[in-house]
Each structure stands twice: as structure tokens, then as C-alpha cells.
Symmetry: C2
Subunit: 142 residues, 2 copies
Amino acid sequence: MKISRTQSDHYDETIRGGALRDTPQRRHVYDLLLGKRDHPTATEVFLRAKKTMPSISLATVYNSLETLVGCGLVKQVHVDREPTRFCPNLDEHGHFVCEKCGHVYDIDLAAGRHRQWSLPAGFIVSTHEISLRGLCADCNEN
Amino acid sequence: MKISRTQSDHYDETIRGGALRDTPQRRHVYDLLLGKRDHPTATEVFLRAKKTMPSISLATVYNSLETLVGCGLVKQVHVDREPTRFCPNLDEHGHFVCEKCGHVYDIDLAAGRHRQWSLPAGFIVSTHEISLRGLCADCNEN
DNA sequence: CTAGGTGCAAAAGGTTTGCGGTTAA
DNA sequence: TTAACCGCAAACCTTTTGCACCTAG
């Protein structure tokens, strides 16, 4: 019987796969993202991290996030030109931002359907980002 | 027989529709966007504008762009957190950025197909943005 | 005439960088 | 031992703002 890998295992494997160190700060940042998946900005991650690791610096949070993004453990989420948000959901998905409450929701992108871009011949897509704005159900009815 | 409206007519109507003035700077910025539709940033628009209107300021370019976006004559294009680009193409479309040459291409979004987001009930989409990254045909083969 | 616009300079805000000291492996 | 990493502060860059002057309507 195969024991399913946790995301923490994934962290271990990925970090050690490169020439990367498993530092307390880096792991703490990653754990925070896994614990509360609400697409925080770097500053928000920093404020949360300080609660249990008061000495951590904003620069280190930025560095950690950059590393985690670089090795594929975390994705960046961009909404217009607002501060970058971070997301540990590695599945194919887009984002919906409520213009009233500000919450960011992951949205399922039905497999494949949204990859059928009508591009000219010879174009190769490496990444894509889909972001929606509007009103979420809660804000819509209140 | 109906004479088709030019985009310049569109400018006239739209600007005069609001409490907006038709200033030389504002029109110049708009004309530059219509003339070379390569998705320039505010700074690039500023540099181009100065060639024929040396006294124009960067702040005025920002203000003009904001006004044009506000009244719907121009759209903003966001690619990750790079400087905002501006686009006078009002048709439904997304963008493709070549990671090698940096060019931004408009891409057709087959009507309606990409609006069928599988959202939870009660969610209302007001705007959406689709951006792709990759290699364009030219860079791909060279 | 006057509300809206312009130009300049300063400030804001997110992110990056340089560097001396620290630490995981 | 040592290359990677941390924390701090300064720098960077895009965008916004405050304000005195100007101008389209």
C-alpha cells in the first residue's frame, strides 16, 4: 500500500533536490501558506510569520517566497497591479477577486478547455494566468 | 448608407459625453496609442509623446491614460507585476507576451467560450483578464 | 469666468539589493 | 569548513499626490 505524500514531504524532496537549505524561516513561510490558504501578500505573510518568529525580516520573507516560487512549491497570483499574492495550490486553477470584500477565491478551470487558445502557428505557451473580478455570493446578496 | 465611425470620432463623442476636456495632451496620448498599437507602458508613451510635444509631463501622461481608461477608450494590460501597458483594442481579447523578445500580442478569445467559468452560484463577474507567456513564432524558430 | 487640466517635485508603496554576520549540511 | 542564507537599511521603480498656474468651453 502506497502512503500518500503530504505537502510537507513535497517540501522536503523539492528543497533537497536543489542546492537549497531547509532553514526555519523558509519552512515557516511555507507552513503558513499551507495553513491558511487565503492568498496573502508578502507583507501579510511577514506579519503572520512574526507572531511565532519575531526575528524574521521582510526581506527574508521575500527571499523565501521567491525560492518557493522558483522551485515550484508556491504560485504567484497577480490581480491588476496590486501586491503579489501567494498560493500553495498547485492544481490548474484561476482566481476570482471580490471587489467588495477583497477575498480571493480559487476557481476551477475545467481541464483543457481553457488551454485551447487560438494562437497563430508557432506560438508556444509556457504559463498562463486567468483572473476575474466581480462580486462573490456573500457580497452579492448582502 | 451608414458612415462607419472612426476611433477618433469615438474619442470626440466619449470625451464630450462626460465633463471632460479635449486637451492637446490627452488627444496626443490617445493618438499615439492608436498609431502604434504595441502595448506601451506609461513611460514609453511619455517618451514618444515628448518627441512632438516636448513640454508634456509624465504626470499628465498618467492622468491622460487614467482618464482614457476611465471612459473606456483604452484598456490596461497587466503581465505579472510588470509596469502597466495600455491598449486601444476594445474587442474581447487576451494577451500573449513573448519571454524572449518581449512583444505583446493580442489574442482572440473565441466569443463566449472563455466566459463559461465554472463559478459557485451567486458569483458575478465584472471583468476578466487572460494573459499568456511563452515564445512567439519568430523567437521560437530562431 | 471657472472647473478641470497641466507641470513640477515630492511622497508613497512594493520589491530588490548590498553587505556584514550567521548557519545548515 | 563554506556556500547558502539571514537581517538590516538603503536603493529602486512605478505610480500617486499636492499645489500653483493655466486654459478649454
